[in-house]
Protein backbone atom coordinates (compact mmCIF):
# COMPACT_ATOMS: atom_id res chain seq x y z
CA UNK A 1 0.00 0.00 0.00
CA UNK A 2 1.38 3.36 -1.05
CA UNK A 3 2.08 6.25 1.31
CA UNK A 4 0.22 9.55 0.83
CA UNK A 5 2.46 12.50 0.06
CA UNK A 6 1.54 15.69 1.95
CA UNK A 7 3.12 19.14 2.05
CA UNK A 8 2.94 22.07 4.44
CA UNK A 9 3.09 25.78 3.70
CA UNK A 10 6.81 25.91 4.44
CA UNK A 11 7.52 23.32 1.76
CA UNK A 12 5.39 25.34 -0.64
CA UNK A 13 7.32 28.49 0.36
CA UNK A 14 10.70 26.82 -0.08
CA UNK A 15 9.73 25.51 -3.54
CA UNK A 16 8.84 29.03 -4.65
CA UNK A 17 12.48 30.05 -4.14
CA UNK A 18 13.70 27.45 -6.65
CA UNK A 19 13.85 27.56 -10.47
CA UNK A 20 11.10 25.72 -12.35
CA UNK A 21 13.41 23.00 -13.70
CA UNK A 22 14.51 22.20 -10.15
CA UNK A 23 10.89 22.11 -8.97
CA UNK A 24 10.06 19.61 -11.75
CA UNK A 25 13.10 17.52 -10.82
CA UNK A 26 12.00 17.49 -7.16
CA UNK A 27 8.44 16.65 -8.26
CA UNK A 28 9.70 13.54 -10.07
CA UNK A 29 11.87 12.54 -7.15
CA UNK A 30 9.58 12.99 -4.15
CA UNK A 31 6.75 10.90 -5.54
CA UNK A 32 9.09 7.90 -5.36
CA UNK A 33 8.67 8.25 -1.60
CA UNK A 34 5.10 6.99 -1.95
CA UNK A 35 6.57 3.53 -2.55
CA UNK A 36 9.78 3.85 -0.57
CA UNK A 37 9.51 6.51 2.14
CA UNK A 38 12.86 5.55 3.68
CA UNK A 39 14.81 6.38 0.54
CA UNK A 40 16.57 9.32 2.22
CA UNK A 41 19.02 9.56 5.09
CA UNK A 42 17.47 9.41 8.55
CA UNK A 43 18.78 12.27 10.68
CA UNK A 44 20.21 11.70 14.16
CA UNK A 45 19.34 12.42 17.78
CA UNK A 46 16.52 14.88 18.39
CA UNK A 47 15.99 15.06 14.62
CA UNK A 48 15.62 11.31 14.08
CA UNK A 49 11.98 11.83 13.06
CA UNK A 50 13.26 13.66 9.97
CA UNK A 51 14.69 12.32 6.74
CA UNK A 52 16.88 14.05 4.19
CA UNK A 53 16.65 13.22 0.50
CA UNK A 54 19.69 14.21 -1.57
CA UNK A 55 19.57 15.14 -5.21
CA UNK A 56 21.62 17.05 -7.76
CA UNK A 57 20.70 19.01 -10.88
CA UNK A 58 23.02 21.08 -13.10
CA UNK A 59 25.88 20.52 -10.64
CA UNK A 60 23.88 21.97 -7.74
CA UNK A 61 23.01 19.72 -4.84
CA UNK A 62 19.65 19.94 -3.08
CA UNK A 63 18.18 18.69 0.18
CA UNK A 64 14.53 17.74 0.74
CA UNK A 65 13.57 17.31 4.38
CA UNK A 66 10.55 15.18 5.21
CA UNK A 67 9.06 13.00 7.90
CA UNK A 68 7.26 9.67 7.75
CA UNK A 69 4.19 8.63 9.70
CA UNK A 70 4.07 4.85 9.48
CA UNK A 71 0.71 4.52 11.27
CA UNK A 72 -1.13 6.91 8.94
CA UNK A 73 1.09 5.91 6.01
CA UNK A 74 1.88 9.53 5.26
CA UNK A 75 5.04 11.25 4.05
CA UNK A 76 5.11 14.93 5.00
CA UNK A 77 7.36 17.22 2.96
CA UNK A 78 8.76 20.09 5.04
CA UNK A 79 11.55 21.82 3.14
CA UNK A 80 13.38 21.82 -0.19
CA UNK A 81 16.43 23.92 -0.88
CA UNK A 82 19.96 24.01 -2.12
CA UNK A 83 22.57 22.26 -0.07
CA UNK A 84 24.48 25.53 0.00
CA UNK A 85 21.61 27.26 1.79
CA UNK A 86 20.99 24.28 4.07
CA UNK A 87 24.68 24.22 5.07
CA UNK A 88 25.23 27.97 5.27
CA UNK A 89 25.84 28.01 9.04
CA UNK A 90 28.19 25.02 8.83
CA UNK A 91 30.19 26.89 6.21
CA UNK A 92 30.13 30.09 8.24
CA UNK A 93 31.73 28.22 11.13
CA UNK A 94 34.25 26.80 8.67
CA UNK A 95 33.44 23.25 9.64
CA UNK A 96 34.29 20.87 6.85
CA UNK A 97 31.51 19.64 4.65
CA UNK A 98 31.50 16.40 2.70
Amino acid sequence: MKYTLLAGKTFDKSLHKLPLDVIKHIDDLVFQLEDNPKEGEQLKGEFRHLWSLHTKLNNVQYRIIYSVNVVKREVILHYAGSRENFYKEVKRLRLKVA
Binding site: K9, Y87, V90
Partner: protein, 142 residues
Amino acid sequence: MLGRRRRNFGYSDTEEKNSLLIEDYLSGCYDTDMSVPLIETIQAADLSTHVDELLARVEDKNQHIIIRRNQRRIARLVPEIYVQAIDHLIESDPAVADTIALMLNVEVRTDIQASMDEWHAGKARPARKVFDEIYAAGGQDV
Protein backbone atom coordinates in the same frame (compact mmCIF):
# COMPACT_ATOMS: atom_id res chain seq x y z
CA MET B 1 43.61 5.46 27.64
CA LEU B 2 40.74 4.50 29.88
CA GLY B 3 40.62 0.95 28.67
CA ARG B 4 36.83 1.16 28.31
CA ARG B 5 35.22 -0.99 25.68
CA ARG B 6 32.04 0.11 24.01
CA ARG B 7 29.53 -2.64 23.37
CA ASN B 8 27.91 -2.67 19.96
CA PHE B 9 24.15 -2.59 20.53
CA GLY B 10 23.22 -3.10 16.92
CA TYR B 11 24.90 0.04 15.61
CA SER B 12 25.82 0.24 11.94
CA ASP B 13 29.48 0.11 10.95
CA THR B 14 29.50 3.88 10.42
CA GLU B 15 27.86 4.59 13.76
CA GLU B 16 30.26 2.22 15.47
CA LYS B 17 33.25 3.86 13.76
CA ASN B 18 32.04 7.32 14.74
CA SER B 19 31.36 6.36 18.34
CA LEU B 20 34.82 4.82 18.63
CA LEU B 21 36.33 8.00 17.19
CA ILE B 22 34.55 10.04 19.85
CA GLU B 23 35.61 7.59 22.53
CA ASP B 24 39.22 7.87 21.40
CA TYR B 25 38.88 11.62 21.62
CA LEU B 26 37.23 11.53 25.05
CA SER B 27 39.78 9.11 26.41
CA GLY B 28 42.44 11.72 25.73
CA CYS B 29 40.57 14.17 27.96
CA TYR B 30 41.51 12.48 31.22
CA ASP B 31 44.76 11.86 33.03
CA THR B 32 45.44 8.17 33.43
CA ASP B 33 44.46 8.41 37.11
CA MET B 34 41.19 10.16 36.16
CA SER B 35 42.16 13.14 38.37
CA VAL B 36 41.50 15.73 35.69
CA PRO B 37 37.81 16.23 34.93
CA LEU B 38 36.63 16.43 31.34
CA ILE B 39 34.49 19.49 31.84
CA GLU B 40 34.67 22.46 34.18
CA THR B 41 32.38 25.43 34.50
CA ILE B 42 33.15 29.10 34.98
CA GLN B 43 31.01 32.20 35.24
CA ALA B 44 31.38 34.62 32.33
CA ALA B 45 32.29 37.42 34.76
CA ASP B 46 35.34 35.43 35.94
CA LEU B 47 36.56 34.54 32.47
CA SER B 48 38.95 37.43 31.88
CA THR B 49 40.65 36.90 35.24
CA HIS B 50 41.39 33.24 34.55
CA VAL B 51 41.69 33.16 30.78
CA ASP B 52 45.38 32.16 30.63
CA GLU B 53 44.91 29.34 33.12
CA LEU B 54 41.79 28.09 31.33
CA LEU B 55 43.42 28.13 27.91
CA ALA B 56 46.34 26.16 29.34
CA ARG B 57 43.93 23.53 30.67
CA VAL B 58 42.20 23.30 27.30
CA GLU B 59 45.50 23.01 25.47
CA ASP B 60 47.41 20.74 27.88
CA LYS B 61 44.65 18.56 29.34
CA ASN B 62 42.09 18.64 26.51
CA GLN B 63 39.54 19.97 29.01
CA HIS B 64 36.27 21.63 28.03
CA ILE B 65 35.39 24.83 29.87
CA ILE B 66 31.69 25.70 29.99
CA ILE B 67 31.01 29.41 30.37
CA ARG B 68 27.80 30.35 32.14
CA ARG B 69 25.93 33.60 32.51
CA ASN B 70 22.99 33.73 34.92
CA GLN B 71 22.92 29.93 35.21
CA ARG B 72 22.68 29.58 31.44
CA ARG B 73 25.35 27.94 29.34
CA ILE B 74 26.42 30.45 26.72
CA ALA B 75 29.69 29.12 25.33
CA ARG B 76 32.33 26.43 25.65
CA LEU B 77 36.10 26.50 25.24
CA VAL B 78 37.14 23.29 23.53
CA PRO B 79 40.43 21.97 22.14
CA GLU B 80 40.98 22.18 18.40
CA ILE B 81 40.99 18.35 18.22
CA TYR B 82 37.34 18.39 19.32
CA VAL B 83 36.39 20.48 16.29
CA GLN B 84 38.50 18.18 14.12
CA ALA B 85 36.50 15.22 15.45
CA ILE B 86 33.27 16.99 14.41
CA ASP B 87 34.82 17.72 11.00
CA HIS B 88 35.56 14.01 10.64
CA LEU B 89 31.97 13.09 11.50
CA ILE B 90 30.63 15.58 8.96
CA GLU B 91 32.92 14.19 6.26
CA SER B 92 32.27 10.53 6.98
CA ASP B 93 28.50 10.36 7.51
CA PRO B 94 25.97 12.31 5.37
CA ALA B 95 23.20 11.82 7.94
CA VAL B 96 25.37 13.30 10.69
CA ALA B 97 26.38 16.15 8.36
CA ASP B 98 22.74 16.99 7.58
CA THR B 99 21.82 16.75 11.26
CA ILE B 100 24.57 19.20 12.25
CA ALA B 101 23.60 21.52 9.38
CA LEU B 102 19.99 21.50 10.57
CA MET B 103 20.97 22.05 14.22
CA LEU B 104 22.85 25.19 13.17
CA ASN B 105 20.30 26.49 10.66
CA VAL B 106 17.68 28.19 12.84
CA GLU B 107 15.68 29.48 9.86
CA VAL B 108 15.15 26.03 8.30
CA ARG B 109 14.59 24.45 11.72
CA THR B 110 11.85 26.99 12.49
CA ASP B 111 10.21 26.31 9.12
CA ILE B 112 10.26 22.57 9.72
CA GLN B 113 8.72 22.97 13.17
CA ALA B 114 5.95 25.12 11.67
CA SER B 115 5.36 22.45 9.03
CA MET B 116 5.16 19.72 11.70
CA ASP B 117 2.66 21.82 13.67
CA GLU B 118 0.62 22.32 10.52
CA TRP B 119 0.56 18.59 9.87
CA HIS B 120 -0.44 17.86 13.48
CA ALA B 121 -3.30 20.34 13.04
CA GLY B 122 -4.45 18.40 9.97
CA LYS B 123 -3.67 21.32 7.65
CA ALA B 124 -1.07 19.72 5.38
CA ARG B 125 -2.21 19.51 1.75
CA PRO B 126 -1.66 16.83 -0.88
CA ALA B 127 1.80 17.44 -2.39
CA ARG B 128 0.40 16.94 -5.91
CA LYS B 129 -1.81 20.00 -5.43
CA VAL B 130 1.13 22.13 -4.26
CA PHE B 131 3.20 21.29 -7.36
CA ASP B 132 0.26 21.73 -9.73
CA GLU B 133 -0.51 25.21 -8.34
CA ILE B 134 3.10 26.25 -8.90
CA TYR B 135 3.01 25.01 -12.52
CA ALA B 136 -0.33 26.74 -13.12
CA ALA B 137 1.15 30.01 -11.88
CA GLY B 138 4.28 29.67 -13.99
CA GLY B 139 6.90 28.53 -11.51
CA GLN B 140 9.18 31.03 -9.79
CA ASP B 141 7.06 34.03 -10.71
CA VAL B 142 4.17 32.95 -8.48
